[in-house]
C-alpha cells in the first residue's frame, strides 16, 4: 500500500547525510570529552565544531549555544532557569495560551512554586495583542516566553515586535523556535531575543538532542547539576553522535532553506486550495499568510478527528489532530480552544504537516482520498444529518 507521511511537525526521519556523519561517533570516536587523552580530544573537537555550526545557523556565538536533550528541555531550562535566577527581582512571567506544553506546564509548575503567570489571549488566527502584552508587563515581570510559530496551526508570531516592547521595559524574552528552525531563517541578533529553543529531530536530525541559545550575559540558573559540561551550565556526558547529527542537519537545513520553504509552500497551498474547493463545511485554522511553509490545519465540521486519522491511516496517510480523543483528555487542543473554536468544531481538526520527502504525488494522493473519507464519516454523523435536512 502507498504510504504518505504528513506529520513532519511531530518528527522527521534522519537524512542519510546526517546519519553518515553521526555513525563514527557511536564507536570510533567515543571518548568522554571531559577526559585528558587523545580519545577525549577527538570528541571535544567534534562537539566544538558542531557548536560553531549550530551557532552560525542562527547568527549566534558558539558560546551562546548550549546543547540539551530536547526542545522541551530547552523550554524548561529557559523558563525555570530565568525564574530561579531572577526570583528576587520579580516573580511574574508572561506567556500565551497557545504555547507548547513544554512551556505551559513549566509555567503551571512555577505558579505552584509561588510565581505569577499571565497567559495572553490570542485572536482567531493565533496572534497575541501587542497592546495587551505591553499592558501586562509589570514592575516584577522577569520573563516573556512567546513561541516563534505555533506547532498546531502554523501561525508565525511577530517576535521582533514582541522583543521591542519587552526591551522598553527591560524584560527578558524567550522564544520556542522549534517549528521555525529550518523553515524560516533565524537571526538572534536581528530578533533581539535573550533565549531561544531549538530541536534537531524536526529538521531531519536525530531525536534526543536540542539546544538553548542563551544570549551572553543573560542570568540563568542550571537545570541539571553535575559535571562541567556545556560551559558548566548543563551537566551530563554529551550525546556526541546526537550533537554531531544536529549540526549536520542544521547545516543542511540552512543551506537549502529557500528551496525547502518554496517547495513546502507550493505543496501546502495546493492542499489548502484543493481541500477548500472540494470539501464543504471546513475551516482553515491559523493565519493564511503568516504561516509555516509546511503547515495545513483544517477543521472538518460534523466529524471527529480521531475517526478521520484512523481512516487516513487505513489508506496509508499519517497525520495528526487536535481532537480530544487523540489526546486522551476531555478537551480538544488548547490551541484550538484559544483561537475561539467550539468543542464541536475543534474535535474535527486535522493537521497535515509537509516535509522535505513529500512529493506532489503525495499531495495528489491525499486530495484523492480525503474527500471520500470525510464524506463517509459525515454520512455516518447525526450532526451532518441535521445540516443536510434529514429527518
Amino acid at each position: 500500500m502507498k504510504r504518505v507521511y504528513l506529520d513532519y511537525a511531530a518528527t522527521s526521519p534522519v537524512k542519510d547525510e546526517v546519519l553518515k556523519e553521526m555513525l563514527p561517533y557511536f564507536s570510533d570516536v567515543f571518548g568522554n570529552p571531559s577526559s585528558v587523552y587523545s580519545y577525549a580530544r577527538e570528541s571535544k573537537k567534534a562537539i566544538d565544531k558542531a557548536r560553531d555550526i549550530v551557532a552560525t545557523t542562527i547568527n549566534a556565538k558558539a558560546k551562546e549555544i548550549y546543547f540539551t536533550g530536547s526542545g522541551s528541555e530547552a523550554d524548561n531550562w529557559a523558563i525555570k532557569g530565568v525564574a530561579s535566577a531572577l526570583k528576587n527581582k520579580g516573580k511574574h512571567i508572561i506567556t500565551s495560551k497557545i504555547e507548547h506544553h513544554a512551556v505551559l506546564h513549566t509555567c503551571e509548575y512555577l505558579e505552584r512554586e509561588g510565581f505569577e503567570v499571565t497567559y495572553l489571549d490570542v485572536d482567531e488566527n493565533g496572534f497575541i495583542d501587542l497592546v495587551d502584552l505591553e499592558n501586562s508587563i509589570r514592575e516584577d515581570t522577569i520573563l516573556i516566553s512567546i513561541m516563534y510559530a505555533n506547532n498546531e496551526i502554523g501561525t508565525i508570531l511577530p517576535i521582533k515586535q514582541i522583543v521591542e516592547i519587552a526591551k522598553r521595559k527591560s524584560v527578558l524574552v524567550h522564544t520556542d523556535a522549534v517549528q521555525v528552525y529550518g523553515n524560516i531563517l533565524i537571526d538572534v541578533i536581528d530578533l533581539g531575543v535573550d533565549l531561544l529553543s531549538l530541536s534537531a529531530h524536526k529538521i531531519y536530525g536525530p531525536k534526543g538532542v536540542g539546544a538553548l541559545y542563551i544570549k551572553r550575559g543573560t542570568k540563568i540558573n542550571s537545570l541539571i547539576y553535575g559535571g562541567a559540561q556545556e560551559m558548566k551550565k548543563r551537566a551530563g556526558t554529551e550525546n556526541i553522535a546526537g550533537i554531531i547529527g544536529f549540526a549536520k542537519a542544521a547545516e543542511l537545513a540552512i543551506e537549502n532553506i529557500e528551496e525547502h520553504a518554496t517547495k513546502l509552500k507550493k505543496l501546502r497551498d495546493k492542499l489548502i486550495e484543493e481541500i477548500t474547493k472540494t470539501i464543504p463545511h471546513i475551516r482553515l485554522n491559523g493565519d493564511p499568510i503568516k504561516r509555516l511553509p509546511g503547515n495545513v490545519n483544517i477543521c472538518f465540521k460534523y466529524i471527529e478527528g480521531e475517526a478521520l486519522l484512523l481512516s487516513l491511516d487505513l489508506v496509508g496517510i499519517a497525520a495528526s489532530s487536535g481532537s480530544a480523543c487523540t489526546s486522551g483528555s476531555l478537551d480538544p487542543s488548547h490551541v484550538l480552544m484559544a483561537i475561539g473554536l467550539t468543542h464541536e468544531i475543534a474535535h474535527g481538526s486535522l493537521r497535515l504537516s509537509i516535509g522535505d520527502f513529500n512529493s506532489e504525488e503525495d499531495i495528489d494522493y491525499v486530495l484523492e482520498k480525503l474527500p471520500e473519507i470525510v464524506q463517509r464519516l459525515r454520512d455516518m454523523s447525526p450532526l451532518y444529518e441535521e445540516v443536510i435536512g434529514g429527518n
Binding site: 460534523y302 466529524i303 471527529e304 478527528g305 480521531e306 475517526a307 484512523l310 481512516s311 487505513l314 481532537s323 480530544a324 480523543c325 486522551g328 476531555l330 480538544p332 467550539t342 468543542h343 464541536e344 474535535h347 454520512d379 455516518m380 454523523s381 447525526p382 450532526l383 451532518y384 444529518e385 434529514g390 429527518n391
Partner: protein, 140 residues
C-alpha cells in the same frame, strides 16, 4: 491501540443509517463531549426487527455503535436491556481504558431508544425504572 475487531467495525460498520418510520429513536452524548450516538429501531411484537445508527465520534464510538446494533438486532426488548457496556467492549475484544465511555454510550443509546418507544406507546419496563435520558452525562 485498537483490536482488529474494533478496526473491522470502524472500517466496515454494520447497520449505519436511519429508519424513516422508526418506532424508537434514541440519541445520547453531545458534541462538546465529542461523541453523539443516535439509534433507530423498528420494533414488532417486542422484537427489535431492525436497528440502524448514526454516530459522530472517534473510531471506538463508531465501532461500539456498530457492534451494539448487531448484538440487539432480532432480539427482544428484554434481551436488549441486558446489553451492558462490558458486553459491548468484550465483543470488540476490549477497548483501551480511555475509550470505555464509548461502550457506555452504546448501552445508553439502546436504552434511550427503548425509553422513547415506551413513552410513545405508554409502556412500562421495570428496566427503565429511574432512567432518564436527560440525566446522562459525558462519561470521559
Amino acid at each position: 491501540m485498537y483490536s482488529e475487531k474494533v478496526m473491522d467495525h470502524f472500517s466496515k460498520p454494520r447497520n449505519v443509517g436511519e429508519i424513516k418510520d422508526a418506532d424508537a429513536v434514541g440519541q445520547v452524548g453531545n458534541a462538546k463531549c465529542g461523541d453523539i450516538m443516535k439509534m433507530y429501531m423498528k420494533i414488532e411484537n417486542d422484537i427489535i426487527v431492525d436497528v440502524k445508527f448514526k454516530t459522530f465520534g472517534c473510531g471506538s464510538a463508531i465501532a461500539t455503535s456498530s457492534i451494539a446494533t448487531e448484538m440487539i438486532k432480532g432480539k427482544t426488548i428484554k434481551e436488549a436491556f441486558r446489553l451492558t457496556n462490558r458486553a459491548v467492549a468484550d465483543a470488540l475484544d476490549g477497548l483501551p481504558p480511555v475509550k470505555m465511555h464509548c461502550s457506555v454510550l452504546a448501552e445508553q443509546a439502546v436504552k434511550t431508544a427503548i425509553y422513547n418507544y415506551a413513552q410513545k406507546n405508554d409502556l412500562y419496563f421495570e428496566e427503565l425504572e429511574g432512567f432518564d435520558p436527560d440525566d446522562l452525562e459525558c462519561h470521559h
